[in-house]
């Protein structure tokens, strides 16, 4: 299992493709992990046989789409913040809706940052470059290497 510093939670096929291309264009070469909805994210962090064990650290950044089937972004964020050490995980909420209430709600639920999803590849690449630069170069990440969430 390869350590992926960035976990991307996105259900939309087109957006997923756009993100993958934009990461390449932005020159971000870190391995990425993908989840298709909130349940996938939970599975990612709790699965016994796959993504997380003592030797594979949890990602340093979660790019979280808000509108996803089964378990949406807000429910996922709520779950994450309830399960240490994920309460310290850096979560950047990404959405195409610029509803004011969504921005406030995301910060109320302790998202670290809220970004608007651009539709063009160049804009997306520029955004991902900024996100990568800020959270991997400037920001000091919390230390939760190799720790499993303390599940209830």
């Amino acid at each position: 299992m390869v350590y992926a510093p960035i976990l991307v939670a996105e259900d939309d096929e087109n957006d997923l493709l756009l993100l993958q291309c934009a990461f390449k264009r932005a020159g971000v070469k870190l391995p990425l992990a993908f989840a298709r909805n909130g349940e996938d994210v939970v599975e990612f962090f709790t699965s016994r046989n796959a993504h997380l064990n003592e030797s594979v650290p949890i990602p340093r950044l979660l790019l979280l789409d808000l509108k996803m089937p089964k378990m949406g972004g807000f429910d996922t964020l709520l779950w994450i913040r309830k399960h240490p050490p994920l309460n310290r995980l850096v979560v950047v909420v990404m959405t195409s809706s610029s509803q004011y209430s969504d921005i406030r709600k995301a910060y109320d639920m302790h998202a670290n940052s809220f970004v608007m999803k651009p539709s063009g590849i160049d804009e997306m690449a520029a955004l991902l470059k900024s996100i990568h630069n800020y959270w991997f170069v400037w920001n000091e990440s919390p230390d939760h290497f190799g720790r499993r969430p303390e599940l209830l």
């Binding site: 910060y107 970004v115 900024s130």
Partner: protein, 171 residues
């Protein structure tokens, strides 16, 4: 008609002021070190798209946010959309300020960026435990004018800030 005209004019003025204030990013810096204050001020000097207000200890930071004492004038001391917070400060330290902010429903969504000389693991963990949005350690890179401008640019251009209510909501 005159009355109507002046009412309309007042409305337009209010709208204009609102639009203008939405274009300006209000940053609050809680920092007791004059040197670091100077570095931030000079890196952001002359910028029309942001305003920088400074408080020098934890109690002052809380007074500013509450609009109390010397900070009642919201035009001069607007609610910030971003708080740069030092940890080691007199009166109330950064941790006490974070704890207070996150306990206030009105200020809970305020993005807090820790800017400190401490790189101690315990401080980083503790700060994230209080749900700070980001933790930056002071260095020749972060306090370099280019560094400061790049960090501010992320929060101004990439990340959207929540709008804080000017008045405490009635509950």
């Amino acid at each position: 008609m005159d009355e109507l005209g002046s009412l309309a004019l007042a409305g337009v003025r209010r709208l204009f002021a609102e639009v203008l204030s939405n274009c300006i990013m209000n940053i609050l810096l809680a920092e007791d070190n004059d040197n670091d204050i100077f570095l931030l001020q000079s890196a952001l000097r002359g910028r029309k798209d942001l305003s920088l207000n400074i408080v020098k200890d934890g109690e002052e930071a809380i007074r500013y946010l509450q609009g109390e004492a010397e900070y009642t004038d919201r035009a001069a001391f607007p609610l910030p959309s971003l708080l740069f917070l030092d940890i080691k400060m007199p009166r109330k330290n950064g941790f006490e300020v974070m704890e207070w902010i996150r306990s206030q429903p009105r200020f809970n969504p305020l993005p807090i960026i820790i800017l400190t000389s401490s790189q101690m693991k315990e401080d980083i963990e503790k700060a994230y435990g209080f749900h700070v949005n980001s933790y930056l350690s002071k260095s020749s890179f972060t306090l370099h004018p280019e560094g400061i401008r790049e960090i501010v640019a992320y929060w101004q251009d990439c990340s959207k800030a929540p709008h804080l209510e000017t008045q405490p909501s009635e509950t």
